[in-house]
Structure formats: structure tokens, C-alpha cells
Symmetry: C2
Subunit: 756 residues, 2 copies
């Protein structure tokens, strides 16, 4: 895989901690020490500025803009102009001079550097001892926290201490001058409030207003001065430090997509003043409660390997703070709010990799995720029209519902987001038996997706077989193939699901039936998708039990993945672009991905044959690949392989396995790490008729446990050396354990069967 | 095909003529009235400027620049920055005011508009009667001519005549302010001579200097004033016109790629003064001789259809003036020097469609064409390395030898330019039996192409079959396919040719053998390409006699080409880009293209079966498609179809069949029109052991004739109602006629056999 671990953080249960500054990992650390409260998020950059490698990134969910440049050769259906999350407003920025010397850890002498981010309250603190040019020493501690209960607000404390008197010049700023893609800011029309430090600006093309107001309060009786630049505003304190001093800054940011355009700054100021009495410690306490509430429902423990434990706890902290259902207009960006890579876009990962975590720990967030797709049906229908089809085609990459991927070969040829949305509707209903999302638009979404798939698919010349031509399945190393297994299988699934749900819903809700008929979803349409589903070409060989990934795959020239030198990775940067498409090497699971989605009904022999065929051909160039393989390896009883891949999945960013954590965290891969424990070691299945468990204990661990919400009630599964213990924490729960239905009241114990 | 004729020119034998201005065809006329002398060329725009639709384009062969913008997502092997022929220097520009009113045919009142371009001397003249706002009438006649003997020079005459006295203000300018792609000029650092009207500038990135000097001499004793702008310089005359006046302007342009950078303007001025005594009429006479010389060797006559005759005569005039072998650093740009479309690039058309015309009418030009590829071997080797291969990969589109196509799906997946170059080396040697081009680098080119093809090709998993994966053959509606027939067949041909030529050349030239061995072309390499050639997978079904265009083609969904509405064409603009790849519709011949290249050895049944299968699936969206089909239809005795397609090929631009003549002439399609007569109706074959003829007379014509150089001697073939007459104009010639060897001395007559 061409990957190696770059460990530089301490291994702890409740935090990540860096002792001593690791300059060569500065960018990765910026990503790892990111904070988010779903409304906004920012990287863990140094508040005072840093002349070394840094991406000063601060983002707001849903605040995006269009690219300045149009896509060249934008033939019909090709995205003319992509869109991206903008690097927006720096509400952490300080400027610190001591005896006239400017603080910049890229230039000054310092020691005793330490920083940590707590999983318990989300506090990010950083301290070091600064030795001035004149020999005086200044201890600096800076703390940041976001307020999960009031996500508009950011809090910061700056502590200074010196034994010798030092002239301090310290400014707290709100700054819009953040670079977009290393170039100038994507904002214009900056406006400031005359009396308060408050500033707003507008995005260039989408006309979104973003504004912030702040207040910085000193511990000493000091008078601040207003400071102002073209794109920034703030408060400056100049004083002689003798001993200690501290400052607390509060900043409140609002944007017009949430709050409308009127009086944005005035409202930010009003919010600030409303929460005047809420102390920094109040925020910490609130955050602790917030995180506890989520943890209560989803806690994971591991005894026996502190690295594995820290890995999963970091993942869950990041997931919980990045997405908790704050707004059903947001989705989970592939990099969260931690970097510009992937443009802040959401991929099909959110339905396939993130949804399970939320489904079983935070149902409101799960619903929000699906509502995002329901709310963007209009854009998906428009996208289908761009592709000369009826129905709805969900974008490969998006922030606002429009297709944001300017690589047409992905945007026009991949339908994973559409079939993934169908799968999410299925998964949600299958687990909750609650049809309210279907009523709120989900049924229409499903029908429109089917309409698209019907139109995009084609019959062969004899009209015997239906399937998809010129597509790219999940394996992005096969660009334009016919009869991609995953695509055909998922289209068949979507058609059949549509028929089933339609049948169910029209019986339950007569009015819905009339509505849908009016939209053209009558008997004829249903008949057409039934025909297409029945005739779907599934390239499966009953003798070898192998699915052929796509037509012709088995006769492609063989590439020995193991013989590719480490230095060739990532292949996109080192191989001629066309070369990656010319063999049987695959980038990420495709056939196996389908088996993963339908694990509860997949025969073990089929899984085994396909795993043994496809895994050796996979280079795992997608960060989501190892987790799927880990789960399948668990299902096949291949413990060592499962564990090895889990280690990679859960510490992908902490140990910067791919060497690209600096660009931002792999947020959806973080969600997949959770799947690896629950679906992998825990043998959990949620795609079949009943929820089921079949845990085993990797030898390396002493025990582990995880919690799931089942019918709204917490079920804890503890896996120990020889036994599994189920605890129904909120009342009795029904679940299948090792193939047997169990009614769990209180505690239920069972031995772990031998794995043959 | 979604095409229709838009006739607006008079039908004449020796000229094109427009009577009355056809505003709606203004752009097409600009292309059609283009002039070129190979060194430079310009569109037939109005010298005085025109506020209607216009592309003021003036180009110099080899004067190009890199794009301002980089290609986004330029993965390895993808062209980072394309290059294009720049819109350069307007040496025709005038500014004309009469009684203070500015001439602009988009605004003023005028009548009696007429313009013509003579095939006999290349004179483009335009006249009209301008009615001023004050009612006075001014007759204007403007003539342009390029000097084929002195290609740096352009001549222009302006004639004015009025019955009433009119205040004239007339400037002659050299202007660098020509828009590139509708945006600003691609030049900078304009410099002017202080005393003479002379100006030079530099391209932005390639640092090519281009300069021009001019002189405008009035018929009346007038004194000119110098006029100057930032990017222009010239001479202005102000006077009271009573009766007649005329002006003659001469302009001389030079560029540093041909003449070096030193003293460019001084040398342009020196050239101007050297030719001071050469009159406009001298130039006309020189041009007449130049064109006659070429016509003597390649004349075509048609009796019985004046449109067909004009079509082919226009084509030959344009071909002869666009490319006559002036420099072997030039190639034939797909649009000649008549527009910006295709960026002034050359495609594989020049070897496959243009070469035959030159081979049999202008051997020096044929040699130059091939030398262009030999001179750019270095760039082709560099290109192969970008694609992770050894050897040489010739660019899909180029001006300077580098790949200029920023659409990676074409640039990285098409090898037609490489195999086409191999074919050209074969064709040239086959016809001339002269191995000097092989000695001058051709052999090395061939070996390097084979080295590339060996590296790019792949063995199947059992190492039984060799072939190409992820390629785009000539049919650009199949983007990324495996075992494309044309590609595999041409690679096999190239390997075998390489082996044959190597065997021949190493016997003849011992030193060459040593040189090539040093470059790595030893026995092992030869053995490898022999193996690959023998194992090449050729998808041919001996039962149906059909070649499968590529693996899987026969099972693609069927698209009924006839049912596509006219308004959908061109498909690239009206269909979602991915949609064109999803069926058995083809854009241009692929299997048939191969059969065309090897017509002398293609069995008629094979041709017939494949023609009947593929032609109905072809939409002829390439302008080169009809001519190939016409030739094949002739070979199959399908006269009507052949004639219909010929009409399209020969008058493609004259009648603006594709509606895009305004972007520039289809220069290589123009060459293909000649093929249609000679190879089609004339049944000429030059790809086999012997040259052969098998003419027939389309019923619509009374007779036709064409001339070919055979062994350097002219052979005229006259085809009449029942007989064919061969005339050996320069001495005896051996040729096969209707399958029989004939030794033609003086005149040879034979009856035309029945076509069964």
C-alpha cells in the first residue's frame, strides 16, 4: 500500500498531546488539533501566525462559493464551474509583541512546547516558554474552545507570565484575509461596525454574508484600543507585564444562509451580549455534558491496546463534534471542517460509511444526513437533466446539492451517490421502521433516483438484458466500463426497493399515491423498473462464485500489486494518468463493497472467493478501503488481517499513514473506523430483517465493548475472553446473537463460539 | 448526418465569387476568402474593420505560444499547458473616413458589393459602392495578394472613385492588436522603428519575435503622415478626392523562428526595399506561374458538373497555397492558416489524408511533411516518457512537436499519429523506392514508435495475446476501450514494417545498423516486436467476415442513427458528453479506415460486409469521414453513394455543410476530396506492390481527368463515357490498369469494363 505510520503524538485515552514541537508535522498537527461544532470549524493553526508551513483554515458549514475560473472544454453535462467551502473568518487571530519582538514560532526561541486536545470537553490548549532576544522569558498559554451549545461562539484565553517586566503589545483580531487555495480571499465588500470590533463580508459569487463580532476582556484593568485593517478589526492592549496577565476573547459569527442578510452584525453583537455571563468554565462544563450525552449512547472501550483505544476515541470525538444533526442542510464533508482538500464536498461516503454510526448512536443526526439529500432533490433533478436523463442524479461531490466535481469522468459516470441515497433510505427504514422520512420526501427521492437509473441504463440489442454502459463504479481505476457489477447490482436493488416501498406507502398513505401518480410514477413506470430489475445483467459465475467486477475484467492484463515500489505511491502522482486504468489492479473495493452492504445475506463461500480474488488486486488508495476489508476479514475469521487493517483505519490521521493528514482529516474514514469495530469485531449486521451480533475477541485485546441504540434503547455489548455480555441499559431489547433470537432484559451472557 | 448545404457563392471554374453581401455568412466568407503562402496566412476579413461578426485572424506558420492558463487537474501525462498558433499581425488594416464618416460595412449604406478570389493568381478583390450620409457616392475597390515567390510579402491596392469631391482620410496600418480567443493579444513588448512604419513584438511565453515593415504609395502626389498607437504604426493620407485615386501598400513580415532575433525590423525594411521594383502585376504573374507549375503536375478536370469541378479546384488551390514544402518545420494545420479553431494544430490527418496528394503531385512537399515528424522525434520521445513508456509517441495535436491537446482522453489514449507516421514512411518508400528519408532519421523514428507501441501494449494473463488496453481508436465515440481493431492492426503493421525496413536497411547501410544497435535496437528488441506482432489480437470473425471495432462492440446497445433529430447535431454541443459513448454509434470510420489504408489487399467481400455493418452506424461527425466512405463506396461499385459523399467532401466549406466554416477551412478534408476522385472514381491504389488504376465514370459526369506523378513522370488519366485514356506526358510509365500491367508510352486507351 505504500503507507507507513508517522507517530508524533502521545498515546492517551482522553486526549491527543504533542510534547515538543514537531516542525516537520506542523501541517498534520494543524489538522489533528482542529475544532468543530458543526456550525463552524477551524484548524489548529497558531493564533499568532506562523512563518513555517501552515494552512490557516477556518470554515463554516454551508458557506461556499463558485470557482473564479470556468472548467475548460465544459461539454454538456460537465460542470462548468465548481464550488467549494471558502476559507472564511479567522476569529482566533492574535498579534503578540514582547519588548517589541513579534511572536512567531517559526522564528523565535522557545522551549517546553506542549499542546493537547481533550476528548472530554473539546479544549485545545497550547503552552510554551518564549525566550526573548533580550534573554527575558515569557510563558504563554493559549486555550481555545468552541461552545457546542451555542455553536456561533468561539472562546479563547491567552495567559502570559514572566518573571521580568516585559512590554506587551497584544491584539485580538477578526480577520477575513484568509487565502483560498493559496491565493487571495474569496470575499469582498468588507464592512465594519463603527464602535464594536465587528466585521462582515460577502462571498464573491454566491453573495453569502458572513459576519463576526468579538470582545476581548483582560484580567487587569487595561484599556483597549481599536485596531483596524482593510479586512480585519480588533482590540489592542499595550501594557507592562509584571507577573501574570490573562485575556478572554469571545467571538460570535453568523452567516446569511442560516440567519438571513438583515442586521447580521447587530445580531452577532446581541448574541455576544446575551451570553455575557457564561464563563469559559461554563462552556467547558456544557461541552462535557454534550459529549457525555453522545458517549452514553455510543461508548466504545478497548482493554489491552491503548493505541487502538485512543484511535477510536479520537475518531468518535471528531465525528461527534463535526456532525451531530445541528442542521439538516449540512452533510459531512469528506474532510470535515479541517481543510480545503476535496473543497468541503460530501461524497457518497456519508450515506454508506457515516450513516451507520449515527443510526445507532444519534438518530437525529442520521435523519439530518438523509434530509440533506431530500432537500437537494431539485438540484439532483437538474443534474439528471444535464446528463440528458429524467429523474434525479445525486452529485458525486457537493456542498449545496449541485454537482461540484469538475472531473467529468467521475461526475458523469458514477452513480454511487444516487444508489447510496437509496441504500440510506432503506437502511434507515430497516432499522427504525419509521416511514416519516419517506413521507417527508424520501419516497419521491427514491422514485426519482429510479427514474434516472431507468433512463441512464440501456437494454442490449435483443432487449434481453438491462445494464449500464460507460460507467465508473466504486473502483475508480476502471474509468469507463460496461456492466460494472456494483452499479448493476445497486440499480437492481434500487428498483426493487422502490417497488417495495411504493407498495407499502401507497397502502398506508393514499394521498401520497395520488401525488406520485401526478408526477408520472404510475403503473407504466413501475412496470418498466420491474422489467429492468428482472433483466439486470449480473456478471456472476455460479461455478467460481466470482462476480466479475465489470465486463471484461477477468481478461485484463495482470498487475502484481506487490511489485509496485513504495516510491510510486500515491499512483495518481507518479503514474501516467492513463496507466492506472490498464490492468486488473483496483483502487478500492467494488464487488467487495457490494458484499459489505449486504453482508447479512452474503454466503460465506461467496465472500471468501471474492475476497481472495479481489483483495490482492486492491491497493487501498482510498482511505475508506481498509475498513471495509477489515470488516470482511472479520467475517471470514481472519483476525490478524482484520486487526492490521483496523489499526490503519482507526489511526489513519493520528499517525498520518497516508502522509496527507496535513490537508485535513479523513472524516468519513474516521466513521468507518467505528464500523470496523462494530460490524467487524462485533459482527453486527443491520442490513437484514433483524439486527444481529456475532462478536469475537481479537487475541491482542483483553476485552472491548460498544454501545448501540436498538429501538431507541441502549444495548451495550461487552466482549471478553470467553464470553460476550449484553446489557440492556434502558429496558428489554430483542436481538439476534450468533444466529439465535435473544430477548435481553438486564444482562445476558453467552459464550463466544469457536470460529471455524 | 444533420448537415445541409448553405450555398451563397457563384459557381465558376476559376474563382469563388460572392455577389451582394451575405451578412449571415460573413464568418464563413472570411474563411473562404483566406489567403496563404505557407509562410503566413490571413482570413478574408474586411481591411477597414467590421462591426458585424468577424474574426480578424492573421497567422504565421510556426509562430505559436503557450496558453495563459494551466490545465486543471493535470495528472501525470496530461498536458499541463497547451500551445497554439497565435493571432499575430494585421498587415492589411486600413482606416477610411470619407467626409468624416467612418467606413464600416456593418453600419454604412452600400450597394453593388462583390468579391472574388481567383484560383489562377490568388488575387482577392472586393468592391462596393458606398453611399455617404450626405448622399455622395464613393466606389471602393480593395485588392490583396500574397507573393508565393516571396512569402514574407503582402500586397494591397485600394482604389477610390467618386463623382463628387470627398474629403478622404485613409490610413494604412500594421497592427498587433489582434484578439486571441476573443481576449487580448498574446504579444507584448511592442517596438517601433522611429522613421519607417515598422513594428515588432514578442510572444508572451515562447519569446518569438515577429516584426513587419510597410510602405504605402499613393497614385497622386500626396504626403503621408506617420500614425502610431500602442500596438500599431502606419501612414495616413488626408486629401480631397476628385475623381480617382489609388494606393499600393507592401508589407514585409519576418519572425525569429525563421530569421533569428537580430535586427528583425531592419531586415524586413531591407527586404522591402530590395523588391521595390517588383510591381503588383509582377506578383500576379509570378503567382500564375507558381500555380501553373503545380497544376501541370496535378490537374483535375471534370466535365458535366460545374459544382463538382469548382469544389475540387477550390480545394486544390487552397492545398497548394497552404502547403507546398516551403519549410520542413511546418506541417498542415487542420484548419490551415484560416482560423483559431484547433489551435493551428496538426493531427494525424496530414499523414493519412494529405500525404497522398503531395506524394503524387509535389514530392518535395511530401518529403517535408514526413521530415516534420523526423525533426520532432525528440518531443515524441519526451511525450512517451510522460506516458511512462519508452520510445516515441507522436502527439495527437501539435504545432511544435509537443503534445498540444489538453483533452487527456484524446492525448493519452490515441496512437493514430504514431502509427500514421509509420504508415507515411511506408507509403513514401513504397511509392518512391527511395530510402533517403529512412536514412535521414525515418528508420529511427520507426524503431522508436515500435518501442513505444511495445511498451504501451500489454500481454494477457496467459501471455498468449498481445494488444492495447484503455485506448481510443479513430472512432472518438469509444473513449477507453480494449483491443480496438484499428489500433491493434496498425500496431501489428508497424511492428512488421519495422522488421522489414530494418532488415532492408541494415543490409544496405552497415553504419546505420551499428548506430541503431547502440540505441538499444538489437536482436532482443526485434524478437520482442516480432512476438508481439505474431500474438496481436485481431478481433475478426471468419464467418461473418466482420472486424469487431473493439472488444465488446457487438454487444453495445443499438442507436438508430437515422432517428436522431437534425437539431441534435453537432452531438458534442447537444448531447451530454458521456452519452455519445454509450452505444454502437460511431463518429467516423475506424474498421473502415483500416480497410481504406490497405485497400489493395482488402477482399471485396470483407469490405462489403464491414461497410454494410459500420456505415449505417456512422454519423460522419468528422469532416474526414465522408471522403473515406465515398472511396469505399466506389470500390464497391456504389456510384450514387460515392457521388453523394464526394459532393459533400469537395464542397464542405464552399457550401458550409457543417455550419462551422466560419471557424476556418477544413484543410485536411480538402485534401481528402482529392483522394475521393483519384482513389475513389479513379480506383487508384498506392498501398500495394504496384500502383494501379481502375477508373469508372459516374453517370452524372461526361468525363473527368486527373494527373499523377509516377516515377517522377506525369501520367494523365482521362475517363470518358466508355473508355479510359492514359497519357504518359513525360515519357513511358508502368502502371496496372484494371488488374493488368501496362507499359504506357504516349497514349494508351482501354475500354471501361462492366462493374459487376
Amino acid at each position: 500500500m505504500g503507507k507507513e505510520a508517522h507517530r508524533f503524538l502521545e498515546v492517551e485515552r482522553n486526549a491527543i498531546r504533542e510534547i515538543g514541537f514537531h516542525e516537520e508535522r506542523a501541517l498534520a498537527a494543524e489538522s489533528l488539533f482542529s475544532l468543530s461544532d458543526e456550525f463552524m470549524g477551524s484548524r489548529g493553526y497558531f493564533e499568532e501566525g506562523y512563518s513555517g508551513k501552515s494552512l490557516r483554515g477556518s470554515y463554516f458549514n454551508g458557506v461556499y462559493d463558485y470557482a473564479r475560473e470556468k472548467t475548460p472544454n465544459a461539454y454538456k453535462g460537465i460542470v462548468e464551474r465548481t464550488h467549494y467551502m471558502v476559507n472564511a473568518l479567522d476569529y482566533w487571530k492574535i498579534r503578540l509583541l514582547a519588548d517589541g519582538e513579534r511572536l512567531d514560532l517559526g522564528k523565535v526561541r522557545f522551549s517546553e512546547f506542549e499542546r493537547s486536545l481533550s476528548f472530554e470537553d473539546g479544549l485545545y490548549s497550547r503552552s510554551f516558554l518564549w525566550t526573548l532576544g533580550n534573554g527575558k522569558k515569557l510563558r504563554v498559554l493559549i486555550e481555545r474552545i468552541l461552545d457546542y451549545e451555542n455553536p456561533h461562539e468561539a472562546r479563547q484565553r491567552v495567559w502570559l507570565e514572566s518573571d521580568s517586566p516585559v512590554e506587551i503589545d497584544l491584539s485580538f483580531l477578526l480577520d477575513f484575509d484568509l487565502p483560498q487555495w493559496g491565493k487571495e480571499s474569496q470575499f469582498h465588500m468588507w464592512r465594519k461596525d463603527d464602535s464594536f470590533p465587528a466585521i462582515r463580508a460577502k462571498t464573491l459569487f454566491t453573495d453569502i454574508l458572513l459576519g463576526g463580532a468579538m470582545e476581548a476582556v483582560p484580567s487587569l484593568p487595561l484599556k483597549g484600543e481599536r485596531v483596524e485593517g482593510r479586512k480585519e478589526v480588533g482590540t489592542r492592549y499595550r501594557f507592562l507585564l509584571e507577573g501574570k496577565a490573562s485575556f478572554e476573547r469571545r467571538a460570535c459569527s453568523l452567516h446569511s444562509r442560516e440567519s438571513g442578510k438583515r442586521d447580521l452584525l447587530a445580531r452577532a453583537l446581541a448574541e455576544l451580549s446575551e451570553r455575557k455571563d457564561r464563563t469559559f468554565e461554563d462552556v467547558r462544563e456544557g461541552n462535557r455534558l454534550f459529549l457525555n450525552r453522545l458517549e452514553e449512547r455510543g461508548r466504545i472501550t478497548i482493554e489491552g491496546d491503548e493505541e487502538d483505544l485512543q484511535g477510536i476515541r479520537y475518531c468518535m470525538f471528531m465525528l461527534n463534534t463535526t456532525y451531530s444533526g445541528y442542521s439538516d442542510r449540512d452533510n459531512v464533508p469528506a474532510k470535515g471542517l479541517t481543510g480545503e482538500a476535496y473543497s468541503g464536498h460530501t461524497f457518497w461516503d456519508s450515506e454508506t460509511f457515516c450513516l451507520p454510526y449515527f443510526l445507532f448512536t444519534n438518530p437525529k443526526a442520521a435523519e439530518s444526513l438523509i434530509l440533506f439529500r431530500i432537500h437537494t432533490l431539485k438540484e439532483a433533478k437538474e443534474r439528471a437533466r444535464m446528463l440528458d436523463c429524467r429523474g434525479a442524479c445525486y452529485p458525486v461531490a457537493t456542498l449545496n446539492g449541485e454537482e461540484g466535481c469538475a472531473l467529468w469522468q467521475h461526475a458523469s459516470l458514477q452513480f454511487q451517490a444516487s444508489t447510496g441515497t437509496a441504500y440510506a433510505l432503506y437502511h434507515h427504514y430497516n432499522v427504525t421502521k419509521d416511514d416519516s422520512l419517506l413521507l417527508k420526501g424520501g419516497m419521491e427521492v427514491l422514485l426519482e433516483i429510479s427514474r434516472f437509473l431507468l433512463d441512464r441504463g440501456q437494454w442490449d440489442q435483443e432487449r434481453k438484458r438491462f445494464g449500464y454502459y460507460a460507467v465508473m463504479g466504486p473502483d475508480e481505476f476502471k474509468m469507463m466500463v460496461n456492466h460494472d457489477s456494483y452499479t448493476n447490482l445497486m440499480a437492481k436493488f434500487t428498483f426493487e426497493l422502490t417497488l417495495d416501498f411504493f407498495e407499502m406507502m401507497r397502502k398506508r398513505h393514499r394521498s401520497l399515491q395520488r401525488l406520485l401518480k401526478r408526477e408520472g410514477f404510475g403503473e407504466k413506470f413501475l412496470e418498466e423498473i420491474r422489467e429492468a430489475a428482472d433483466a439486470m445483467l449480473i456478471p456472476f459465475d455460479p461455478e467460481t462464485l466470482l462476480y466479475e467486477q465489470n465486463e471484461g475484467f477477468f481478461s485484463l492484463p495482470h498487475i502484481d500489486v506487490g511489485s509496485i515500489p513504495e516510491s510510486d505511491f500515491p499512483l495518481y502522482s507518479h503514474w501516467s494518468y492513463d496507466r492506472i486504468y490498464r490492468g486488473d489492479m483496483i483502487k478500492q473495493p467494488a464487488v467487495l463493497m457490494h458484499l459489505f452492504l449486504f453482508l447479512s445475506t452474503t454466503r460465506k463461500e461467496v465472500l471468501e472467493r471474492n475476497y481472495d480474488y479481489y483483495e490482492p488486486r486492491c491497493i487501498h488508495e482510498s482511505s475508506l478501503s481498509p475498513s471495509v476489508h477489515s470488516i470482511l476479514a472479520s467475517a471470514l475469521g481472519r483476525e490478524e488481517e482484520a486487526l492490521r487493517l483496523y489499526g490503519f483505519a482507526s489511526r489513519l490521521d493520528l499517525d498520518d499513514w497516508n502522509g496527507n493528514t496535513g490537508e485535513g482529516l479523513h472524516l468519513t474514514s474516521i466513521a468507518a473506523a467505528w464500523n470496523t469495530i462494530v460490524y467487524g469485531f462485533g459482527g453486527f449486521r443491520s442490513d437484514g430483517r433483524e439486527l444481529s451480533l456475532a462478536p469475537y475477541l481479537p487475541r491482542k485485546w483483553k476485552s472491548y465493548s460498544f454501545r448501540l441504540l436498538v429501538d431507541g434503547k441502549r444495548l451495550e455489548t461487552r466482549v471478553e475472553e470467553r464470553k460476550v455480555v449484553l446489557l440492556a441499559l434502558d429496558g428489554p431489547v430483542d436481538i439476534v446473537l450468533y444466529g439465535e433470537k435473544r430477548h435481553v432484559e438486564g444482562t445476558y451472557e453467552a459464550p463466544i463460539p469457536d470460529r471455524a
